[in-house]
């Protein structure tokens, strides 16, 4: 299976949570179907003064690219390893 690396550019992230909301695995986690999400909002604040998104378990990423295609600020990138 392909491995994916998720890179968050924290300086660009303005904490809009779009990526967290569209991520299929994170949604499965919210429904209690998997034990860990791929993305979640962290407690840290980024360069723009908003809480930034963080990667929890990249090994569950399916490479669907929904997060990086929907990020308005091009702050999250899914890269094939």
């Amino acid at each position: 299976m392909a491995k994916w690396r998720i890179e968050v550019i924290e300086e660009f992230c303005k904490g809009c949570e779009i990526c967290v909301k569209v991520c299929p695995i994170t949604n499965l986690y919210n429904a209690g179907r998997v034990d860990k999400p791929v993305l979640r909002m962290s407690d840290r604040f980024g360069y723009q003064g908003y809480p930034v998104v963080e990667v929890v378990d990249p090994s569950k990423c399916t490479g669907c690219h929904l997060c990086d295609y929907s990020c308005p600020d091009l702050a999250i990138h899914v890269i094939k390893e």
């Binding site: 809009c16 779009i18 990020c71 094939k80």
Partner: protein, 617 residues
């Protein structure tokens, strides 16, 4: 007049200074002219465009950054194009060239090839190399952010030009991007920069560009300021940007739609500059010193097509390339794609045309030979590029920039894609696909495209200005009149001079004659120039570029089959092709230029003082 060049030897990681003497400068001014002259002299015949023997010239001109009130902040890039294999040059707005002059150099030339990724900073005459391994693989927005962070400078100090992932992966139409949105887009000079392993260049300083005759110069500036300030086109450009053209061009049936098979687009209203201004505009932005301020700052509402608020909006060409050419009437998707393509560092016109060809191939896949059809479907890997649907374009853009799957073929450009699958459905000249004015509906654009030295381009001669906008006089766009050959030729010469000074071409809508620029140029340089001399310099530059092409094996002045054989099915130009225009206008044009079969004659070269290049013809 002094012109200082910084030569960057990337193979040995060394810098060298060079001065251009006044005599050469007066023959070529700077910018495009001097760049083309140096390229013809220094790039060896048959050089690999992506090899160390190619050079990239980053030029300013004698007027750059000297005054406010008209646009004099443009940068000109010259090199051998990886897309066409001929002369490659591209002009970019913004503030880079004024900062470059302030840093102490009027031009930067990249030579050789670095063995690892580097970026270059020039601050107050002190050039330095920096390690770019942390920047490599990043988009231009992030690269610029990291550079400014490392140097500790604010967002308004100094100028950065950078390439994105497309340039790094040698996509043949990669662009060089400044300030996130100002692009030296066409002819793929971003790939040349990428092939040299240069990620970015930063320039800053406080040296003031010198002006030889202040009094005369001020007179020239006042004249331009006044003429530009009270012209109606200025207000239209400020209010709606270049996208104001969408409705105008659609009305005369010259808005290429559905991969150049139609001339009008029923959803043109939705993607026009008026719609952009009404729904998504948050501000305007101009280049250095400009009072027109045609740059758009936009936002979107749809989270599917989100961009950061204040992102730079699409130009008319982009709206055509990823809008009407794909039959895509969703303006928000165009804004998002514009933002993404800038970040990846790709030319929107060529990318739009390439994907349009792919859409047509996908639509006609049953007509392809068996093995080609299977290969196309295998390369597409489940992506369905359909007309009217912008959704797969994001995926295609990423794949092209990283040369993944179908991206490997898309990265070669529209012509190469069509050839690869054996389907002649591309609109191009000299292997570069055409921008957003259909030459079948605007006859003199056919001549302008065919004779443009860098390939299909609307900026060598912007015949739209007299055919459609009525500057300086209104002509009938459908009429084929040999007189138009002279108008195109004169505009090409004039624009070559304008690109060398360097002033923005939008200023020439309001100041369409060379007389308007005599005082400005004479004041800035101290030369006693006349309007005739400005035109002669332009003609010399145009011949030098043509000589470069002739030396590299020019394919000739042509338009691709779609434009000369397939008639437009709709709109005011129904039933028209570009065939007659080329047949009538080309001979008249050669006569005007003193060329035979698209090549300058010995007499022409002698008249223009280009004897040193006689060996080429």
């Amino acid at each position: 007049m002094e012109f200082k060049i910084l030569r960057v030897d990337l193979s040995g990681l060394k810098f060298r200074e060079e001065k251009i003497d006044d005599k050469t400068l007066r023959r070529f001014l700077g910018g495009r002219g001097l760049g083309a002259y140096l390229a013809l002299k220094e790039i060896p015949k048959g050089a690999n465009p992506l090899g160390p023997e190619n050079k990239l010239y980053i030029m300013s001109g004698p007027v750059t950054g000297t005054a406010e009130g008209f646009e004099a902040g443009r940068t000109h890039f010259v090199g051998k194009s990886p897309l066409t294999g001929l002369i490659g040059e591209s002009n970019m707005g913004g503030r880079f060239a004024p900062w470059m002059r302030r840093s102490g150099y009027d031009a930067i030339v990249l030579e050789g090839k670095a063995d690892r990724p580097v970026w270059i900073s020039v601050i107050n005459g002190e050039p330095r190399f920096h390690d770019a391994s942390k920047l490599w693989g990043r988009g231009v927005h992030h690269a610029e952010y990291l550079i400014r962070k490392e140097l500790g400078v604010g967002p308004k100090d100094g100028g950065v030009v950078a390439i994105g992932q497309a340039g790094e992966n040698l996509v043949r139409y990669a662009s060089i991007i400044h300030a996130g949105s100002r692009a030296a887009g066409r002819t793929g000079l971003g790939a040349v920069m990428g092939s040299k392993n240069v990620k970015a260049i930063f320039v800053m300083g406080d040296r003031q560009p010198e002006v030889a005759d202040r009094e005369r110069f001020e007179k020239g500036v006042e004249h331009l300021k006044e003429k530009i300030g009270k012209h109606p086109i200025k207000d239209a450009l400020n209010k709606y940007g270049t996208a104001v053209l969408v409705n105008i061009i659609n009305q005369i049936g010259a808005l290429p739609t559905r991969n150049w098979t139609k001339g009008t687009f029923e959803k043109a209203e939705d993607i026009s500059g008026e719609a952009l201004a009404e729904k998504y505009l948050v501000g305007t932005r101009g280049c250095w010193g400009c009072q027109i301020k045609c740059g758009r700052l936009v936002k979107t509402d749809d989270p599917k097509w989100g961009v950061p608020e204040g992102s730079k909006g699409p130009e008319y060409e982009t709206i055509f390339a990823v809008g009407s050419n794909w039959e895509n009437g969703d303006l928000q998707s165009i804004i998002r794609l514009n933002h993404l393509l800038n970040d990846l560092g790709m030319d929107t016109i060529e990318f739009g045309n390439t994907v349009a060809v792919l859409m047509e191939l996908f639509e006609k896949k049953d007509q392809l030979p068996e093995e080609k059809r299977e290969e196309l479907l295998k390369l597409l890997d489940g992506i369905r590029p359909l007309f009217g649907c912008p959704c797969p374009a994001m995926e295609l853009a990423y794949r092209t920039a990283t040369r993944n799957g179908i991206g490997e073929v898309l990265a070669q450009g529209a012509r190469a894609l069509a050839d690869y699958f054996g389907c002649d459905c591309v609109a191009e000249a000299r292997k570069m696909s055409l921008p957003a004015y259909d030459p079948r509906a605007i006859k003199s654009m056919a001549l302008a495209y065919a004779t443009s030295n860098r390939g299909g381009c609307h900026l060598r001669a912007y015949a739209v200005s007299f055919e459609v906008l009525g500057v300086p006089v209104k002509t009938d766009p459908l009429e084929v009149d040999p007189k138009k050959a002279k108008m195109v030729k004169e505009q090409q010469d004039f624009f070559a001079s304008i690109d060398s000074m360097i002033v923005c071409k939008f200023n020439t809508f309001m100041t369409p004659s060379p007389e308007d620029y005599v005082d400005l140029l004479a004041g800035a340089t101290g030369w006693d120039v006349t309007a005739e001399e400005i035109m002669e310099i332009g003609e010399r530059i145009y011949n030098v570029e043509r000589l470069f092409n002739v030396r590299e094996g020019d394919p000739g002045d042509y338009l691709s089959r779609r434009l000369v054989e397939e008639a437009l099915p709709d709109g005011p130009a129904k039933g028209e092709t570009a065939k007659k225009a080329l047949e009538v206008l080309l001979p008249a044009y050669y006569e005007e230029r003193g060329w035979v079969d698209g090549k300058p004659t010995k007499e022409t070269l002698k008249r223009l003082g280009l004897e040193e290049f006689m060996y080429i013809i």
